[in-house]
């Protein structure tokens, strides 16, 4: 087992530059809503504890990133729907909190393209105009909630009701969060801020060999290249976690969570027994902060979660 090595490259200045908002627009994730609704609930619970009120809108649609990256729609649709979706919080005067790496990555990348390429901006502006919406100006800030949790780590620490003493937790950060190297608060090649959060919750962070490896589900390869590439890849990743003695893994993306949690059944069926519950980082925090376990939606998980958390419930 590789020890978790301190010497973090977390940039304190960038962390300090993150806001501590009292109100944020919550950008809903399709995968999250369907596969792991407990994540959305957990985000609200943690937000409430930190004094962040999340406002949502029934007008917000899918971010369209998945369909774009599967090449299943015209790229202009993704640009237009990003422009439209972001005009909603813009109208409310709110910045955006996202809890799915996919939505986060696509919103940021597409917002960047809208902003940097006049031809792309015109696609977005025309769309909003046709819908009678205000143009998206590009000033709305997009945060992943994990960053906001880390910003208030001290407060979170003080709110811990169930210290996770002795629990060996490992991180899966997710590629589409780390790919935003210009905004990450940490070294995208060796991030450690999730491990810092585990420690704050009383748990023991574990570093495993394939920690930085992708979940394998991106851009739908789980449908088209499952046997050939995705399964061998996830098998490698999960076996390396098992070897390191990981008892629980967290993600910050419902898409990653789906791949890493659900595919364990197949991996096991093919002779590599592995059982590591995979939950969202927000679910873990909400749990440590004392949220009723029924509120966290662990029922949705394929690999059972309660066996490793049970002992902390009094």
């Amino acid at each position: 087992m590789e020890e978790y090595q301190k010497l973090s490259l977390i940039d304190p200045q960038r962390v300090a530059n993150l806001p501590t908002p009292d109100k944020l627009f919550l950008f809903l994730s399709c995968t999250g809503s369907i596969e792991y609704p407990g994540t959305e609930r957990a985000v609200r619970i943690v937000g409430e504890k930190l004094g962040i009120e999340f406002i949502e809108s029934v007008d917000q649609t899918c971010c369209t990133g998945y369909m774009l990256t599967c090449n299943a729609v015209n790229p202009q649709l993704a640009l237009a729907s990003t422009s439209r979706n972001l005009s909603i919080p813009q109208e409310m005067g709110l910045d955006v909190g996202v809890f799915c790496n996919g939505c986060y990555g696509y919103l940021r990348e597409l917002a960047h393209l809208l902003h940097s390429n006049p031809a792309f901006k015109e696609v977005g502006d025309k769309a909003n105009q046709a819908l009678g919406r205000e143009k998206f100006h590009g000033h709305t800030k997009i945060y992943h909630v994990q960053e906001l949790w880390f910003r208030q780590l001290e407060k979170l620490t003080s709110l811990v009701k169930r210290p996770l003493t002795g629990l060996k937790i490992a991180a899966h950060y997710g590629c589409h969060y780390l790919a935003n190297k210009d905004v990450a608060i940490d070294d995208a090649q060796y991030p450690t801020f999730h491990e810092e959060i585990y420690k704050a919750l009383g748990a023991t962070p574990v570093v495993y060999k394939e920690r930085r490896a992708c979940c394998g589900y991106s851009v739908g390869r789980g449908f088209t290249h499952r046997e050939e590439t995705v399964l061998p890849h996830i098998t490698n990743k999960m076996l390396s976690a098992a070897t390191a003695g990981v008892q629980l893994m967290t993600t910050t993306c419902p898409g990653c969570n789906t791949a890493l949690d659900r595919e364990q059944k197949t991996i096991t069926a093919r002779g590599n027994a592995v059982s590591i519950p995979v939950i969202d980082l927000s679910q873990l925090i909400a749990f440590a902060l004392g949220a009723p376990v029924e509120q966290l939606g662990f029922k949705a998980n394929t690999t059972p979660v309660l066996p490793v958390l049970e002992r902390f419930i009094k």
């Binding site: 090595q5 060796y190 060999k209 930085r212």
Partner: protein, 345 residues
Amino acid sequence: MLNEGVLVIGGGVAGMQAAIDIAASGREVVLVDKERSLGGHVKEYGSLFPELTEGTLVVKQKAQIIKDNPKISVMLGSEVDRLTYADSNIKANFVSNGTINDQIFSAVVIATGFDNFEGKKYGEYGYDRYPGVITGIDFEHQEEAILKKPIKTAVFIKCVGSRDRSKGMPYCSKICCMYTAKQAAELKKAQPNAQVYVFYMDIRSNFKNGEEFVRSAMENQHIKYIRGRVGKVIPTNGRLLIRAEDTLMGVPLELEADLVVLATAMVPRESTKSLATQLGIKLDSNGFISPIPMTESENPMILTKGVFYAGACGFPCDVKDAINQGSAAAAGVLGYLQFNRRAAN
């Protein structure tokens, strides 16, 4: 009034050579260095490519000449924090041991040198984080210990901080190909059973006997050169797992090593930048001193009236080149003081 003394800022090999050559003409030279001893980076190098001369011997020899020449006064532990023009002279503000004083000089040689690129800026290589990952400079510092400790496999990674726009380092640092070949060969000589790999993008050995030196590492010491920039170092099973592509074969590969040496680049210094800007001297986009065009200068090292430079504050260079530049700057200073400055007055 014309002051005749010359200030040399930086006591590395370039500055030492400039001081020696200027003082040989009988002029007074003040040689200042922020460290406690002369010799700059070179005094820390175990040996220099390609002849394998000890770095300390080069420094010792020059320090002796300086010591023997009463015309050179050495100010150690001192820094020049401000340079200003005073008529046709230059006024320097010194900070030494917390006290500040100033002195007037007729000419200045900037030989402020370079810094070593910080290995930890590559999170993927785990410098400062995984035991067994060191930089080329660490190798020079700890050479004896490194050569003694038994190693099964060692990996040298070149271009750490060179030719990398994403790190704001688009230029080639020039010397790393050579010092890597030297270190790899030294390791292999000390431990013939060790497997030594060098990951490279291009081999740039444009020094006298440089190509022969690198070829000898491959042919005589059996160092395996693999063309590809290492993607990742991962600690595993108590060793270091290397992931890279062998780009000549077009195959991704993995290997486990006990020692990883990062060939870190030479980077410009903040102090060079602040001195240069005070005198209106331009820096290039990488932060090195920008020389004036060849067609407009009477000496290759002149920057502006009475101000010269030498060594790696201009661009990465090897030890010999730094010494040559020190001499060139001295020639420029002497010519300037003998003719140009008098003509200007």
